[in-house]
Symmetry: C2
Subunit: 542 residues, 2 copies
């Protein structure tokens, strides 16, 4: 999922001469009452939040192994799982699932999601879920992307032609997963693109996605007309051997759809889509990613790389949502899905973009129908175009809704979308907004246990356990900081009312009296009143 | 609509010894390409945005008359409208509408909304919309609240027992309407409460709401059990004469519902609701706001003050959403609505709070049914509880959805919700998040012309008219600032690509080539391809 704008973020200050990134502060510094735990023989990671009453809550954790030397990379936990698969023609999770085999990756995901491993296998076999897991990415902690699992989020990183600082890219990766990114896309277009990707993969516990056409375009010095299928396949192989877990490929941009974009308000806004459209027009030929799709499948299945079928014709504004170009391409992506599946290659489908609220469900329902329930992976959508500078919010609204309706993964959007290059704070703001959207979707879908964290936090709030309220939140240190702006004294964290209302007005405190009274036999009294409940007081003169 | 936390915000630094507020910078400083215009004999205000091609867009404007001396207050534009109504028993907009009379207020709202004045009258007569407009608030620029009009937003201000600085309150009012608040609630609980309210009303072009029970509680030194209907009626009269336009009154908190809250995760979280619940329990009597409702109506109709029937039992967490206590109270609010209407008093109904996405529509539909289509006025709702520090986002998601489903006004929530006292930036962030939610709802409802601003901004974006993109946005200076962080040079504002993608990757630029080619006869070529469109390329081995 390529976003227009959050391909890269600037880390300020940048010490370009320093090859070694500063280590991020330890997880405990951002999550003070938490520590990482590993469960079971597969050592499935969770973040354990310790509450003041001595109980704990284990939450899904993407932060990966801590304190590793990035020159060494992360431990290769999957190596022993992968070794026995040597020599298989299609060592893909889809192939195994169809054979009835439950892989270590499936077991790992099942434990992570708290579901049965057989259910994971069945969902993967049906194509309703994918586990992007290149056999050359042994550092991976596998995650499953499908609408019957927790909604996932992606964050984009990548260097630019102008700036290429490997340390920055690794730091961006670590920063994104610190706040909860489930996958990361490296959208680099600059020099050292291969080396940068190597450092990212060796240090990434999450699936890494790329848009290979970008590197191809670098190889032809930006001359779109010089792109060829051969060059593309070479580039895929190069990235495949490094361990990229999923490729965004714009194979659905067909010549026949291009004229349908001519009258749009914002034409084609996907970079990959516009590149392929220009190639098609120049050569007056069909998209080589479409005509060469089977060859691409054959390459990808060797490594178990998943397709993220790019929506090159996605709408770039609310006016263009669900139009003929977008829906035509979506139908083609559904056809390509079946071809990929015929090759035992896993598939997800990319989606918009910009869609007003009343058209979101239609888009989701059409995707499920036309793409045979392959997982949907959307960018937002933004539900209005009028708030540049706040598009993490405009898009979190659409993301929460489409996640509820069935989207499996949401590509985060930062406040800099449409405007510029996100910095650290922008990326964090985007990821947090999307953790909110994804969790709201899990709640609305009634995902088992999704409400547990909400209920524990709400109970802590009601009981004035301020520290527990902070520690159960998505961003404990920020919550505590905002609280302390009004109430800096430590005593305020144990007080049974707060400055917002003061003692007279503290509804929480009053309610505790109410609850006491209520529990002391109000119920009986209520029965008494219910008898008269029907007789509405009739005012004189009414 | 009382929010737990954003009753007041701290202005830093506070010059408590300075009785005169610093004037806000002029509107033009926050909206550089805009100027205020007045339309028609009623001088209806709009903000005119000037675009680089010489065209203009007029947008709804809440900022009010600029540059007035707050000691003099705003011009009394309604005085000549109100004078002829002297001596009427019920000079309410509802009464006039039912008589078939189109008041100046209705004409004003019609012009503001771009609809027919007769339509405004009919909606008010039906109780589907209200125009809160106390005859003692001549400074008001009337606004209409109803689901067939633009979705409105409220912002809360108010001083605390601890701090009472009149200049601050006026500044908060001006700051809130600068960013688009359609109404403002003064939730003061401190000393000088009467004088503070006087300054706010004399300087407010927007309807002002209050929660009178707060002042009553001050009068009895916080002793809830000493509250009486007589004291309440006196307080209403006092505030009515000052010009308060709507009162939040928690008349639906019945004794029979209180036990239903005992097993909730967060009990009763509304301050007004918990106050009345405690009073009921102490006296073992029915809520005097309920038993005295007709007397309250008779007082309010004299001034044309609208009811905002408080949801004292609204859920304080997602777990408690749509429960028996909440829905029981909602049914009672519907009964009270009919009584208010029998007295020709306008009514809106307050709503939650915290509701997971899948329960929002049910809540909205029940409100329309049980409250006979009286306008709904909700706080959010927050769609998850796990993000303190980001509740302007968690609640903007629910607000956008419930606005689409039919809520007429949304009470903004700041990032400090549940944590502390919002400052200037917090209030702005809350108001902007809610302008996004309200506009997204207008788009989804297909409100006539709501998409015009989106389409103009998107077109400007596609054509690299950066200044127009900024100026059409909700917050032009922030959008420009974020852009300049990456691209400070003035040239960057006219460049036909930006640093996000660079020239090779600029999809907008490529698309312009595509469009040119497409318009140059691609259509014919596409026909050619469509013929073969059905024949999907069948890969060898597939």
């Amino acid at each position: 999922m390529e976003s227009q704008d959050n391909r890269l973020f600037t880390t300020r200050p940048v010490a370009t001469d320093d090859p070694v990134p500063e280590a991020l502060p330890p997880v405990e510094e951002h999550f003070p009452a938490s520590h990482k735990v590993e469960v079971g023989a597969l050592r499935v990671p969770f973040r354990q939040i310790n509450l003041s009453d001595g109980s704990q809550l284990d939450v899904y954790d993407t932060t990966g192994p801590q304190g590793c030397d990035i020159h060494q990379g992360l431990p290769k936990r999957r190596a022993p799982w992968i070794a026995p698969r040597a020599g298989l023609a299609a060592p893909t999770q889809l192939w195994f699932a169809r054979q009835g085999v439950i892989t270590e990756e499936m077991q790992f995901c099942a434990l992570r999601e708290g579901v049965d491993a057989e259910f994971v296998r069945a969902e993967v076999a049906a194509g309703r879920a994918i586990i992007p897991a290149n056999i050359h990415h042994p550092e991976l902690e596998p995650a499953i992307i499908g609408r019957n699992f927790l909604v996932k989020i992606n964050a984009n990183i990548g260097n630019s032609a102008l700036r290429s600082v490997i340390r920055e890219e690794v730091e961006k990766l670590q920063w994104s997963i610190r706040w909860g990114a489930d996958t990361v896309m490296d959208l680099s277009t600059g020099k050292d693109i291969h080396l940068t990707r190597e450092w990212i993969l060796r240090n990434s516990p999450v699936p890494i996605g790329t848009v290979p056409i970008y590197q191809c375009l670098e190889k032809v010095n930006g001359k779109i007309e010089d792109l060829t299928l051969e060059l593309f396949l070479q580039t895929l192989e190069e990235q495949a051997l490094q361990g990229v877990d999923y490729f965004t490929i714009h194979a659905g941009v067909l010549l026949q759809y291009i004229p349908l974009t001519a009258q749009r308000v914002t034409g084609i806004v996907s970079r990959g889509g516009s590149i392929m459209a220009k190639w098609c027009l120049h050569h007056h030929k069909e998209n080589f990613l479409y005509t060469g799709f089977a060859e691409i499948c054959k390459l990808m299945r060797k490594y178990d790389i998943a397709f993220s079928l790019g929506d090159g014709l996605r709408p770039g504004c609310t006016a263009d949502a669900n139009d003929a170009a977008q829906l035509g391409e979506l139908r083609t992506l559904g056809e390509l899905t079946k071809i990929a599946w015929a090759h035992d290659v896993q598939v997800m489908i990319e989606g918009p973009g910009h869609v007003p609220m009343h058209k979101i469900k239609e888009n989701m329902d059409l995707q499920l129908e036309l793409c045979h329930e392959a997982p949907f992976y959307t960018l937002g959508p933004l539900v209005t175009d009028i708030a540049p500078g706040y598009d993490h919010i405009t898009s979190a609204i659409g993301a929460a809704m489409i996640g509820w309706f069935g989207t499996a993964m949401l590509c985060s959007v930062t406040p800099k979308e449409h405007l510029g290059l996100p910095d650290r704070q922008d990326v964090k703001d985007g990821v947090i907004a999307y953790k909110i959207a994804a969790h709201a979707a899990d709640l609305a879908k009634g995902h088992p246990g999704a409400n547990k964290r909400d209920d524990l936090l709400s109970k802590a709030r009601f009981e004035f356990r301020w520290a527990d309220q902070f520690n159960l939140s998505l961003d404990p240190t920020t919550a505590e900081h905002l609280h302390d702006e009004s109430l800096p004294s430590p005593a305020a964290k144990s007080s049974h009312f707060c400055s917002m209302c003061g003692p007279h007005f503290c509804s929480m405190r009053i309610t505790q009296d109410v609850r006491a009274a209520a529990e002391a036999g109000m119920a009986a009294m209520a029965e008494e009143f219910k008898k008269h409940g029907g007789e509405l007081y009739v005012p004189t003169g009414a």
